[in-house]
């Protein structure tokens, strides 16, 4: 096979990606170092003030807040998702694919629609309130929609299927004999889980967590719809810089930070899975 053929096959797609992804992203990178004009627009003059502004307490708080919400959503999603994946993996082998299919199916329906479903459930004339009334409860119900809780629920709901998928992969590859061996050596069910199953499935957990965290922290739809503009997350902040405040350089600086956080986490995650798989290899060769 000559070396020229593959290049020739890849060229169109790579050209496309270069023109419409690499160049625009580099543009954003450059934009972060320019000054904003008085009436919006961009003045081509080098400055670090946009970067500095990101660390301004006002915006740093938003960053921390977003990180907090994303972290909470990711933690909850991982706990539920791992439990569900574990449950699927402990069902008969034949049943597992179909269970997995239905666990992941909602993920492929429209994100807006899935978020909207929670508006229907949580709003003041929504289903949950109606149900409470129907069973005779007529005290004051707390506000549910347009709260942080609603945002967290929405994020968990939307990304849970992915976490199940990510956790299921290593769980299904676990050799049941390893589990049995541990039991045979006298470990209890719980000790076996803690000392054997959990460490060997860390990569799935890490993938799930990072994925939910990254998608949540940059999310803009869920806070906008379920948070009702009560508070901002980074995604909304970036959105505002481009579509309302018209401060593109600052928006660009924020995006850069978002990407930096994302890349940092992905590197950590790669590291975690490599370490875990190294551990597995060591365990195998120890036997």
């Amino acid at each position: 096979m000559t070396d020229r053929k593959p290049v020739y096959l890849m060229t169109p797609a790579l050209a496309w990606l270069t023109a419409f992804m690499v160049v625009p992203c580099l543009l954003i990178l450059a934009l972060a170092f320019f000054r904003r004009g008085i009436y919006g627009g961009i003045v081509y003059e080098f400055t670090l003030s946009n970067i500095a502004l990101v660390f301004d307490p006002l915006y740093a708080r938003i960053f921390l807040k977003s990180a907090g919400i994303a972290g909470l959503a990711a933690t909850i999603a991982v706990v539920i998702g791992y439990a569900a994946a574990y449950a699927i993996a402990s069902m008969p082998r034949k049943r597992q694919p179909i269970l997995l299919f239905f666990a992941v199916l909602p993920f492929w329906s429209n994100y807006l629609v899935r978020t909207y479903a929670w508006i229907v459930l949580l709003n003041r004339e929504g289903l949950i309130v109606s149900l409470a009334r129907a069973v005779g409860f007529d005290g004051d119900l707390p506000q549910m929609l347009y709260t942080e809780t609603a945002v967290v629920i929405g994020l968990v709901y939307n990304y849970l299927p992915f976490v199940i998928l990510a956790c299921y992969a290593p769980l299904s590859r676990l050799n049941p004999e390893i589990h049995e061996a541990s039991r045979d050596l006298g470990a209890s069910e719980w000790t076996t889980f803690r000392r054997v199953t959990l460490p060997m499935t860390v990569p799935g957990i890490a993938t799930g967590f990072v994925f939910v965290f990254v998608l949540s922290i940059g999310n803009f739809v869920t806070p906008a719809l379920l948070g009702g503009g009560q508070f901002q997350m980074i995604g909304n902040l970036i959105y505002d810089q481009f579509l309302t405040a018209n401060d593109w350089p600052f928006g660009a600086a924020l995006s850069m930070f978002l990407i930096a956080i994302m890349m940092g986490l992905l590197t950590l995650q790669t590291f975690a899975s490599e370490k875990a798989s190294g551990q597995q290899r060591a365990e195998v060769s120890d036997d």
Binding site: L9, P12, T18, R114, L160, G218
Partner: protein, 263 residues
């Protein structure tokens, strides 16, 4: 893991998870057929709200736009992504940087790609509209098509390519008569996945659509409707959109030998 009480516990976890996943969706489904359209009372089965949808020219227009975007970007992405996948797999050993470029559109936050493209198009004084949405959707769609096709190529028997050459075929003929037909199911699966993603995609479309009303897509329409509050029409629309994506996904996953995209 076959212990009885622990099995019961597992079933409990599963039921709770599935309830959490499916109750919200089912509620929408039920509401869309509720004559009153309100969650407060069931006033009888009706397809009234679906009728309303069809009569709403904004929605129909948006739906048409979405279809145009999805179809054109899927076609472009399928062509580009498939060739890319074949090329990459032929010379897999080299190029880490390349891998990053190919994976990036799938992991980059939507909002970042959206603003990057917005800045790019507006700085070039590119008039924005459906065509810029199509261009932008092709970026991530081709990455997904490429991923699905590459997954199939991992188990591809490359000796049939040599066999074809040995029997006298030139490389383009081998590509057309051997490689592509064998890959067809994966290519179609990738295309359907891209189609689903494109139909549902909101943020990037929102940023690259320009300001004209005539380039509004269905998700953009849904977004603005949701912002106005709960209306029975959205329920019906939601159910339709969801059904469409799920059907496309189901076909895609069948073709992809029972593997879900991303698995």
């Amino acid at each position: 893991m076959t212990n009885r009480s622990s099995l019961r516990f597992m079933l409990l976890i599963l039921s709770a998870t599935f309830a959490f996943l499916y109750i919200p969706i089912s509620v929408l489904f039920a509401l869309s057929f509720n004559a009153s359209g309100l969650p407060t009372a069931w006033t009888g089965f009706s397809t009234h709200w679906y009728g309303e949808l069809i009569a709403n020219s904004d929605i129909i227009g948006a739906a048409l736009n979405t279809l145009i975007v999805a179809i054109v970007s899927t076609l472009a992405a399928t062509l580009l992504g498939t060739l890319l996948a074949i090329g990459v797999e032929i010379r897999r050993r080299k190029g880490r940087v390349l891998e990053t470029v190919i994976f990036a559109p799938m992991i980059i936050p939507d909002i970042v790609l959206a603003i990057a493209l917005l800045s790019f198009f507006s700085m070039l004084d590119f008039r924005m509209g459906l065509h810029t949405i199509i261009i932008s959707h092709t970026v991530f769609n081709l990455a997904f098509v490429c991923a699905v096709v590459r997954a199939r190529l991992k188990s591809f028997d490359w000796s049939i390519v040599e066999a074809s050459t040995d029997l006298g075929a030139t490389p383009p003929i081998t590509l057309r008569r051997v490689i592509l037909p064998v890959l067809t199911p994966a290519v179609v699966a990738g295309a359907l996945l891209a189609f689903t993603l494109s139909i549902d995609e909101f943020i990037i479309a929102y940023f690259t659509a320009g300001s004209g009303r005539d380039s509004i897509t269905l998700p953009m329409q849904i977004f603005s409707m949701i912002r106005f509050g709960v209306t029975p029409e959205i329920n019906a629309l939601a159910v339709l959109v969801m059904t469409l994506s799920v059907v496309a996904l189901a076909i895609s996953q069948r073709l992809n030998r029972g593997r879900l995209p991303g698995q």
